[in-house]
């Protein structure tokens, strides 16, 4: 083997970039910059203060309340999700075009990196950065857990789903930052996408009501009422006097089971629905408000409402059914299938689509260049 062949052999063996090595290097590069900048720490401090303040106020107002644990727990999870949805776009949506503006993207593109490696590295880094915020709020979640009434499993599942949701929003942000020319534009667009998921899904669901309404359906109603004689007797009425009345009426019916999937894409629905609520629910569904009734937490009631929407017109547990099924009642929580896997799929598909489109913008040599942008 001649000297020249040895030389070229060395070249080809050293100049090969493994896929994981590339992703890891980009991840390290991003993390170093975040950890050495001050912005991340300031945002974390503000986050901690705000969540702490909300938690403190909620603790004070619920100090005398029974079942404060579940209430506080749901409140913290809801707030962490809300704030996470506000922070994650800011952490991710300038990942690519920020580098392009700073002139450092081309320096990465000229190396052996593939577009996919750049996206993976940037996404993992922005996700990790947003997980820092989640870690910072976990003390409050565990504090609420310590107050009792909440199954520890709920806390872990909540944290897990929150982490996944942040990852999905970060993926959206990174993808959009590859698509849009300027960081400001991509950050605003990402916020709009998050707003679309949070509020747009609700609006769409509300507006679709008129499409799923069915007029004049013969419906069998049954409800508790006091019999006529009891009312006329003039005695103090007690619960024992109630009897189950059944009749048929013509009424419009909303088939929300056909549109409930719209709600699945909502991040709050996704998180609320994925948590397995294992709480003392009292007897909330039997139609009778009993003494040990406990109001469900924010997230818990979101989940309940969504499952009611999924059930459609059949959501009511009538007293007739209650009598038939006995004291155990009908468990409407487990009746419709959980909707969160659908939400995960919808949001994942959206994020994947945006990332796929963003990847095309990173392919070099560049054929089409957006107006007003420079490669370097």
């Amino acid at each position: 083997m001649s000297a020249m062949e040895t030389q070229s052999l060395q070249e080809s063996s050293t100049h090969h970039l493994g896929y994981v090595t590339g992703v890891r290097t980009i991840f390290g590069l991003e993390m170093k910059q975040r950890l050495r900048g001050r912005a991340w720490y300031i945002m974390m401090a503000v986050w901690f203060l705000v969540i702490g303040l909300v938690f403190l106020l909620a603790t004070l107002t619920t100090a005398t309340m029974d079942g404060a644990g579940p209430f506080l727990f749901d409140l913290v999870v809801g707030f962490v999700l809300l704030f996470g949805l506000l922070v994650a776009p800011g952490l991710s949506a300038n990942a690519i075009n920020g580098d392009r503006t700073g002139g450092t993207l081309a320096i990465l593109q000229i190396t052996l990196l593939t577009p996919g490696q750049i996206l993976w590295g940037k996404w993992l880094a922005s996700w990790t950065a947003s997980l820092g915020f989640l870690a910072l709020s976990s003390p409050f979640i565990f504090w609420a857990l310590a107050l009792g009434g909440v199954n520890p499993l709920e806390a872990f599942v909540s944290l897990l789903v929150l982490a996944i949701e942040l990852g999905l929003v970060c993926a959206l942000g990174v993808g959009i930052s590859a698509l849009a020319g300027r960081p400001l534009f991509s950050i605003v667009t990402t916020y709009m996408m998050v707003a679309l998921l949070c509020i747009g899904t609700l609006i769409a669901f509300g507006l679709s009501m008129s499409l799923v309404i069915e007029e004049d359906v013969r419906v069998t109603q049954s409800f508790y009422d006091y019999p006529q004689e009891a009312l006329e007797s003039g005695q103090m009425l007690t619960e024992e006097d109630l009897e189950c009345v059944t009749n048929e009426v013509l009424t419009p019916v909303l088939h929300t089971e056909r549109t409930a999937w719209l709600l699945a894409a909502n991040p709050f629905v996704l998180v609320a629905d994925a948590v397995p609520y294992d709480r003392d629910t009292g007897n909330a569904n039997s139609g009778v408000v009993t003494a040990n009734y406990r109001a469900p937490g924010v997230m818990e009631s979101i989940s309940e409402q969504v499952r009611l929407a999924q059930a459609g017109p059949d959501y009511e547990v009538t007293c007739e059914e209650a009598q038939f099924f006995g004291s155990g009642s009908r468990d409407i929580d487990s009746e419709p299938l959980p909707i969160w896997p659908l939400g995960l799929a919808l949001q994942g598909a959206l994020a994947g689509l945006v990332l796929w489109a963003g990847r095309r913008k990173l392919v070099t040599p560049v054929r089409r260049l957006a107006r007003g942008t420079r490669i370097a």
Partner: protein, 310 residues
């Protein structure tokens, strides 16, 4: 897939951005072992051409071979062989100079030890060893420029594309850049330097390609440039005697208004003619105090092209 030619050959390159034609028709050739200058006014398509050669931008038309491979088809092969120094300074400001080099080294597939070794070597070469552990943001413009050069060299590329490498450099660093580029060319590497500071290219470049309005208008070696028609500046005490002597020998001269000093400029076709004129003037008892080419050889070509254009 390589055609065995280590240098750069580009034929009929075209590239437009929307309705703006940045590169209309450029033929470009840079042989290995030589420094090729890419010369042209601002907005003439130099940076666009370098982006195309660096495999970042696809040409609309034309054939291309960089280090023996086609950037469009065999991008990875070109990337391994090409080092590119952009005209805009992009640095990761919070990273240390050493980290920038090792990170980029890793992205070229160097092992951590190889990258660290190479980084230390290059930092010494561009005189940044003292700043190796300083964040890039504290480096001056010239230092960042040198770091950028080291970054382009991290994977020991066969082809080096430098976009305005000398801008922002102090005179000492320019001399070092010159020495470094000559040494790299001596090792057989293909080096392309774009610039519009022509005086420094005179000393670095072996050949030059002139571009204007997106077209390659002239290609010549420095030896060719040296033998062409050149302007010379002459000063004497007093200037009147010089004017008389020039007129009596039928040499046309003019007095340029762009200089602080009073001097005459004449057009001479060769160094022999220049030697003849100087000897004649001195024999005619003119007290010649200065007799020199008005500008560098490349500047002469550049100015002549500029005149042709107008």
């Amino acid at each position: 897939m390589t055609n065995g030619y280590g240098g750069i050959i580009a034929r009929g390159i075209r590239r437009s951005f929307g309705s703006v034609a940045a590169v209309r028709n450029i033929d470009f050739e840079a042989p290995p072992g030589e420094v090729t200058a890419l010369i042209g006014p601002n907005g003439s398509g130099k940076t666009t051409l370098l982006l195309i050669l660096a495999s970042l931008l696809a040409p609309d038309a034309g054939t291309l071979s960089v280090g023996g491979s086609d950037p469009g088809r065999d991008t990875a092969a070109v990337r391994r062989k090409v080092g590119w120094m952009p005209d805009t300074l992009g640095v990761w400001e919070s990273l240390k100079a050493r980290e920038i080099l090792t990170t980029v080294g890793a992205l070229y597939g160097l092992s951590p030890t190889a990258a660290a070794h190479r980084a230390a070597e290059l930092l010494a070469e561009v005189r940044l060893s003292d700043y190796a552990d300083a964040p890039a943001r504290v480096l001056s413009r010239g230092q960042q420029q040198r770091l950028s050069l080291a970054r382009a060299l991290i994977h020991n590329p066969e082809v080096l594309l430098l976009d305005e490498p000398a801008s922002g450099l102090d005179p000492g660093s320019r001399v070092e850049l010159r020495i470094m580029l000559r040494r790299l060319a001596g090792e057989g590497k293909t080096i392309v330097v774009s610039s519009h500071v022509l005086s420094e290219l005179d000393e670095i470049a072996d050949r030059a390609v002139f571009v204007n309005r997106g077209e390659s208008v002239k290609s010549q070696t420095l030896d060719e440039a040296g033998t062409q028609l050149r302007r010379y500046c002459i000063q004497a005490e007093p200037m009147g005697a010089l004017a008389d002597a020039l007129t009596s020998h039928g040499v046309v001269f003019e007095e340029p208004g762009d200089s602080r000093r009073v001097e005459y400029q004449v057009l001479l076709s060769s160094t022999e003619q220049a030697a003849w004129l100087l000897r004649t003037l001195i024999l005619a008892d003119v007290v010649v105090t200065a007799f020199a080419p008005a500008g560098g050889a490349l500047e002469e070509t550049y100015m002549s092209l500029d005149t042709e254009r107008q």
